[in-house]
């Protein structure tokens, strides 16, 4: 039996004339994100079958629902959200059937140039950092920054560090990084301010693959040292 989902006050805010933002919480929190995921799933089913309703976009603690105001009235969309919230608020009735995706990682060395610094700043050995990072089953809370970048949580408290003071201009694709209580995989060569602790050969984003994104919001992930 899952823990009861938090039922804090939900705000529905206007996001322009053609979208509503459902705010379910004000922090990065696994239970709140759980509710985000279920609300997104329910709204996604509606959107797939309903003219004028756009695909919902989840973030940590909120869901954006675009709609075509030339087709649907805002009040009707608010009603749909209320119905979906009721259904998404209680404990999940179905087992979570999402498989766990294993991501092989080469930690440290040239693949993880910040591993030593992370170890020093958290007062642990490099082996300890790797063990802690790889011990947790993560969830994709949301995606963004660039296509396919997963914001995964939650990293063990012991490893929580603020972002680097000066972001790198060039982070190689496949880099596995941490910041605060989150971890992610860089899908492409981009600038980046997270601590690079390892690298994977599994591309997080490949436009020639179907689907291009390795992960999606709600996916379960484990990092496996190789």
């Amino acid at each position: 039996m899952a823990e009861p989902a938090p039922r804090g006050p939900v705000r529905i805010e206007r996001f322009g004339e053609a979208a509503l933002l459902v705010v379910l919480g004000d922090r990065v929190d696994a239970a709140v994100n759980d509710r985000v995921r279920r609300l997104t799933a329910r709204l996604g089913v509606r959107a797939a079958h309903m003219a004028g309703l756009g695909a919902p976009v989840p973030a940590y603690a909120s869901v954006l629902l675009p709609f075509d105001p030339l087709v649907l009235e805002e009040a009707a969309v608010r009603d749909m959200i209320a119905v979906a919230l009721d259904a998404a608020g209680g404990p999940s009735m179905t087992a979570d059937r999402t498989g766990i995706i294993s991501v092989p990682v080469r930690y440290g060395g040239p693949d993880g140039p910040d591993l030593a610094e992370v170890a020093a700043r958290t007062g642990r050995s490099e082996a300890d950092v790797v063990r802690l990072h790889a011990a947790v089953e993560y969830r994709v809370f949301c995606m963004g920054f660039v296509p396919g970048f997963p914001y995964l949580g939650l990293v063990p408290k012991e490893l929580a560090l603020p972002r680097r003071a000066t972001p790198r201009l060039h982070v190689p694709a496949g880099s596995v990084a941490i910041a605060e209580r989150q971890t992610g995989i860089y899908p492409a060569d981009t600038p980046g301010g997270w601590h690079l602790i390892g690298r994977t050969d599994l591309p997080a984003w490949d436009p020639r693959r179907e689907p291009p994104a390795l992960l999606e919001p709600g996916a379960r992930v484990r990092f496996v040292p190789v």
Partner: protein, 326 residues
């Protein structure tokens, strides 16, 4: 068939974009000025959201490899033939083989659209031909077009559209409108400093030179730092308040989530205007009720539909006249 001789600062293929993929971190992309794209396409009997060229600023030169017809929409970027003959926007022009089209730049507007008969023949990546480099989506792995690239029409040899003219008095370009941009307020006014919205509306802003298809940075008085919020999804038109207090307006290639407070969202009817702003242009905002924004959108789509119907009727008469021997 058109060849790129000189792409200018940025030349890409754009269509109506790929909305609905925000959950994967993929922005909608597509034409910055969706109306300008629709005009160019409708002139050459293509779907309003078909793939066309988005020309940025001046400096682009194209050459016809085979005789073709091009529809010009969006900003008037001083297009002319290499013999100096001006190519008016809002018109479908015949470009004979070997002739060149130059965009010499102009006083106003940022992006022009060049459409080919039936649209540009190009593939789709996640449902759209739009170029989006960070996702490697679009023609040639999402890179901008370069000298030597060639673009073919879906209906090669079809010159029927030559001479079509956009009924501009019936359906004027939204980007030609003057006056403040609308802004539907919210959702994060609670996280903004007191009076930030009033100050946003009171000030005259200047578009910063560090603006692109991802967003417009606005120079002007600082509105004060917003409180950091838990990142939430974003859409084009969102006006964010970063720590330096100077607003950023998200455009079509912009981030799909963000942690700066959003003071308001520029409505769809004004997005073509946003897409045509150039560095140093002045920008003002005025709060707009959501219902008023929807009414503007409805009116805009009605005008586009009527203009498209007018073009179709004109095309039938043109063809009949041709067959009757002129």
């Amino acid at each position: 068939m058109l060849a790129v001789v000189d792409p200018g600062p940025l030349l890409t293929i754009q269509d109506a974009g790929r909305p609905g993929l925000g959950r994967l971190g993929v922005p909608p992309s597509g034409a910055c000025d969706w109306w300008g794209l629709a005009v160019a396409n409708l002139l050459v009997d293509a779907a309003p959201g078909a793939a066309a060229l988005e020309v940025t600023f001046g400096g682009c030169t194209l050459e016809a490899i085979e005789t073709c017809v091009v529809g010009l929409g969006g900003a008037d970027l001083g297009a002319e033939r290499d013999d100096g003959r001006p190519l008016r926007r809002g018109t479908a022009h015949r470009v004979p083989a070997g002739a060149r089209i130059r965009f010499t730049g102009a006083e106003r507007g940022m992006r022009a659209y060049v459409a080919l008969a039936g649209g540009i023949a190009v593939g789709a990546w996640m449902g759209s031909a739009s170029t989006y480099a960070p996702g490697r989506l679009g023609f040639a792995d999402g890179r901008a077009l370069q000298a030597g690239d060639q673009l073919a029409p879906r209906r090669p040899g079809d010159l029927d559209a030559v001479g079509s003219v956009w009924p501009v008095r019936l359906a004027p370009y939204p980007a030609d409108k003057r006056g403040p941009l609308g802004i539907v307020t919210g959702p994060d006014l609670d996280a903004a400093p007191d009076g930030a919205l009033e100050a946003l509306v009171a000030a005259a802003w200047r578009v910063s030179t560090s603006s692109d298809r991802m967003g417009l940075r606005l120079d002007g008085p600082s509105l004060g730092p917003g409180n950091e919020i838990v990142s939430h999804p974003l859409l084009p038109g969102a006006v964010q308040l970063p720590p330096d207090g100077r607003p950023i307006v998200i455009l079509v290639d912009g981030p799909t989530i963000g942690g700066y407070p959003v003071l308001g969202v520029v409505p769809a009817a004004d997005l073509p205007r946003l897409g045509q702003l150039r560095p140093r242009d002045e920008v003002r905002f005025t709060p707009l009720d959501a219902e008023a924004a929807r009414a503007q959108s409805r009116r805009q789509h009605e005008l586009l539909d009527r203009a498209a119907a007018t073009l179709r009727a004109d095309a039938i008469w043109l063809r009949l006249a041709d067959r009757a021997g002129g």
